[in-house]
């Protein structure tokens, strides 16, 4: 049996050859990085966040390593939806890897305009990931995802504008993650990504000042894996739509744990900084695990720890 059959999953309206998807914000738009043949084992790639207008992102220090972790305060730097549609979309859609357009929730009017423009190109866009979880901006971002009511408002707006597959990326800073997840499911999301970075901070003891201009920043990387796994478990208990586990995955074992907790797919961010071929090595690991146990496919793994 071919490996891409064995690892195939259907996830929130997207057919993935492997459950391993590159998370938003770590991958360049340069053409070579979207060629399917160059990155075997990847099921899909999320784009960097897109907003209505160009954003310069945050001033000052943007990244800071912690023990087995990474704090970032990029602040949604991107060139705006027009540039994305004219320049990036043609490039990334040629490579053959399914991609998911990460749309950062700003305010109601701006984000609905972004989604309206994406809707005009729907035949070219496999899915949208609505990011109601960015911790690094003052306007919108994570503020939307903290409560069930505001999350529902954002998703309800998005659902009206964008008719294609809609993934919604939640924040670990949610007051009650199960409640938020249920509210987002009710508004018609096709899948939930659990989740974005965990709010943290660092202080530079030489200057006695916070490292980041915004003081707080988002923590990612292996240090957060157990936290993310627990949250995936909680959300999988709360909803019936597919969940995509994200946070600190650095091995095929972590992928298996996310899947066994109930996730249908896994997003990987920080680990791509360590190994560009993580998709390949994780997929081989998953495949060997399945073959060694005589399992037929992903359905035999997903949610197994819950049975």
């Amino acid at each position: 049996m071919r490996s891409d059959n064995l690892l195939r999953v259907s996830c929130g309206g997207v057919e993935l050859d492997s459950p391993i998807v590159v998370a938003s914000g770590v991958w360049p738009f340069e053409k070579d990085f979207w060629q399917r043949d160059s990155f075997p084992g990847l099921g899909g790639i999320c784009t960097k966040a897109v907003t209505l207008n160009r954003r310069e992102g945050n001033p000052g220090t943007r990244i800071w390593e912690t023990p087995a972790g990474l704090l970032n305060s990029i602040g949604l730097q991107n060139r705006g939806v027009e540039h994305f549609l004219e320049r990036d979309l043609p490039v990334i859609s040629e490579g053959g890897i399914p991609f998911i357009v990460n749309v950062a929730m700003e305010n109601h009017d701006e984000t609905s305009e972004v989604l309206r423009r994406l809707e005009d190109m729907r035949n070219m866009i496999p899915a949208v990931e609505l990011n109601i979880s960015c911790p690094n901006v003052s306007d919108g971002g994570m503020a939307w995802g903290r409560f069930a009511e505001t999350s529902a408002q954002a998703v309800s707006m998005a659902r009206k504008k964008w008719k294609g597959p809609l993934w919604v990326k939640l924040t670990p800073q949610a007051e009650d993650i199960a409640q938020v997840a249920r509210a987002v499911e009710e508004e018609g999301a096709d899948a939930l990504v659990v989740g974005n970075t965990w709010l943290g901070m660092a202080i530079d003891i030489d200057t006695a000042r916070p490292v980041f201009e915004r003081a707080f920043a988002g923590l990612s990387g292996p240090g957060i894996f157990p936290l993310a796994l627990r949250m995936v478990w909680e959300v999988c208990s709360a909803v019936t739509i597919p969940v995509i586990g994200c946070g600190g995955v650095t091995s095929y074992r972590d992928c298996l744990a996310m899947l066994m907790a109930g996730a249908t797919a896994v997003e990987v961010g920080t680990v791509m900084f360590l190994d560009l071929q993580s998709g390949k090595s994780f997929s081989s690991g998953l495949e060997e695990y399945l073959l060694a146990r005589g399992l037929d496919g992903m359905k035999d793994i997903i949610g197994k720890a819950r049975q």
């Binding site: 070579d32 310069e56 360590l274």
Partner: protein, 260 residues
């Protein structure tokens, strides 16, 4: 399987650690792809294979290449460099590269290569590449005479090296800018690497000649491939990524007023 212009994560094996001063070291890595495939001013990101702490690779200029190996020079400044200063031969690393634009081709027939301490690393490779066919005058600045073993080591590679020290205890009293001519000629260029304050001072010293100055900048990096936007600097065209749009910029591109 090539990715962007051959960028990949290669295996690198530490071959030789050399201690130059108590804080300055060089390491030779066996890594044929980088040894044969990088040009002056390009860099690599090096991380301990299979270790999650330190997590990310750190950027190092390719200082020289011989056979299937390349070398990096570094000063102990943090966790990663402290660990590297105790590395054992045979230890395995991941080497991402070759990264960045590099210095490119000289446009004239004389190069002033200007370095502040470890900023000499990328310029060693520039010298290796170009000193045979054009006039390369190398100026190296250090704080004081505790850096003598370092300057001696550089002198072995660059016989005509001019040395400057901040306190005058080694070479000529002054910074590495001290011995540069008042004006840069039509057929001359300055290529520089060092602390950002030094590079800014260089730009300010030649306000009319900024197109004749190329500077190699440093930044904290996570990906090295243009994905994370973590390494941006202010330029006259807005924020640009040091890892792929640089690390070498023309001095006239950099928005020096906004750089701290």
């Amino acid at each position: 399987m090539c990715i962007s212009e051959g960028i990949r994560d290669f295996d690198g094996i530490a071959e030789k650690l050399q201690k130059i001063t108590s804080r300055v070291f060089t390491i030779d890595f066996h890594c044929p792809e980088i040894a044969h495939g990088s040009s002056p001013g390009q860099f690599v990101m090096i991380r301990f294979k299979d270790r999650l702490d330190p997590l990310l690779g750190r950027p190092f200029a390719v200082a020289s290449a011989k056979g299937d190996s390349f070398s990096v020079w570094f000063q102990v400044v943090g966790k990663m460099t402290a660990l590297l200063s105790e590395v054992s031969p045979g230890e395995k690393f991941t080497v991402r590269g070759p990264l960045g634009n590099g210095f490119g081709e000289p446009s004239g027939d004389k190069l002033f290569l200007v370095a502040g301490t470890l900023g000499v690393a990328p310029l060693l490779k520039v010298y290796e590449e170009f000193s045979g066919r054009l006039d390369c005058e190398v100026h190296l600045g250090v704080p004081d005479k505790t850096w003598k073993p370092f300057t001696e080591q550089v002198r072995q590679l660059i016989p005509g090296l001019r040395i400057f020290s901040d306190d005058g205890s080694l070479g000529v009293h002054g910074t590495c800018l001290h011995g540069l001519p008042g004006e840069i000629g039509q057929r001359e260029e300055i290529w520089a690497c060092g602390p950002v304050g030094m590079l800014k001072a260089l730009a300010e010293r030649y306000p009319q000649n900024r197109s004749g100055i190329r500077v190699s900048l440093e930044a904290r990096m996570a990906c090295g491939i243009g994905g994370c936007q973590g390494c941006v600097i202010e330029t006259v065209e807005g924020k640009r990524r040091v890892c792929v749009d640089g690390p070498v910029f023309s001095s006239e591109e950099v928005a020096w007023d906004e750089i701290r």
